[in-house]
Subunit: 208 residues, 2 copies
DNA sequence: ATCAAAATACCCCAAAATGGGTATTTTACA
DNA sequence: TGTAAAATACCCATTTTGGGGTATTTTGAT
């Protein structure tokens, strides 16, 4: 049976192009092709597609928002995101929101069919530039350098594990007051004023 | 000028195979091919390769350790990891340690040349199974279900941003005491006893 | 219509964290 | 061989959190 594809793409030319491209092969059947996602939840319930192609940049509801709506009820349905921009933030947001794959539009005509097959067989198609971005985001080293000493880093790590001053003191065999001194220094280097802020900053900037 | 490739692979047959494969093309030059990484730092200083192929599973020093050693002094040199296993932990560890690309050995002969070219042009070659794994690790959903209500989730998020009770109260337009009530509930559901523990747990289990 | 859960809010008290200091000893490096 | 940075440690005062309650109103589901 043909694979049912649901398309969301606001650009008319591209949307029709994608439809035509998929119609060329009898392996695929376009279940629907819409210029916006306002009905995404009911579209999916009604059309029951096997895979969704979703443009990121759409009016009303962005592709990422639509993806989140889909993921609210369906963790499995493969959704391949399409975008013109390989702009960092959108890509990471989409992947975090649960995108199954990510194609740049310039690669779409080339790779579309193979990408759909890839997600259906459990793979994750990524345009080369996107793969690069995902990888770099994963090893984005420490953002700024806060010039922590080794001891400070050690104590910051323990703090990020959720330990209290007392516990850190016990763990490091240092006095409670010493821990306080270190933490005061850490806060001033991070320019924060509480453990919660420090942990938040440290985790988000991958300092630990 | 030929691209200088440095190879670390403990299996003699595969190491020789890789050498032969690269020698077929005059675009590549094997700068060295070693069965272990004990000298990795000095090898690289001496041979100044353009790209490194690194097996993950090696005696003495694992490929991941070697990668960390390389990254201590060189953040740029492309290092492509090779492995037989698409085992989750190693792959993620390698990527976090700064791998530029990741190939399953079964894909190596096919994809080696194109992968090397891809890293040199700033891309990130990943075997399909690996891409999948990286993506899934990024959207690994919440581990356990703590049965938070929507409001609790909202407040937990704000807490994880480093906000104090006062700030959360202001942000949500709820009273300070209400926030305290929620947070007490959150702690009891998470089985923790402080904001630092809660944030640590929430971040690590991707509850936010 | 009823009942449970969720949302909202307050009280008291104790414990922990924060901010402002200061001070001594080690370590590393110019 | 100084000397600056790092590591260690303490004091005082205030604010913020945490743990124990209780209570009212709203919402949702049976």
């Amino acid at each position: 049976m043909a694979v049912k594809v649901l398309i969301y793409e606001d650009n008319d030319a591209l949307r029709n192009g994608l439809e035509d491209l998929l119609s060329l092969s009898d392996e695929f059947e376009v279940a629907g092709a819409y210029p916006n996602c306002v009905q995404v939840a009911s579209d999916i319930a009604k059309l029951d597609p096997d895979v969704v192609l979703m443009d990121i940049d759409m009016p009303e509801i962005t592709g990422i928002e639509a993806l989140k709506i889909i993921r609210n009820t369906n963790r499995e349905l493969p959704v391949i995101m399409l975008t013109v921009f390989d702009d960092n933030k959108n890509v990471l947001d989409a992947i975090c929101a649960g995108a199954s794959g990510y194609l740049l539009k310039k690669n779409a005509s080339d790779k579309l069919v193979s990408s759909i097959k890839e997600v259906l067989s459990g793979g994750a198609p990524l345009s080369p530039a996107i793969a690069k971005m995902v990888i770099s985001s994963m090893h984005s080293g420490p953002g700024g350098d806060y010039h922590f000493t080794e001891k400070e880093k050690e104590i910051l790590k323990l703090l990020c594990k959720g330990m209290s001053y007392k516990m850190i003191a016990a763990e490091t065999k240092l006095s409670f007051e010493t821990i306080r001194s270190y933490i005061k220094n850490i806060y001033s280097k991070l320019q924060v004023h509480s453990a919660t802020e420090a942990i938040s900053k440290a985790m988000n900037e991958r300092l630990v």
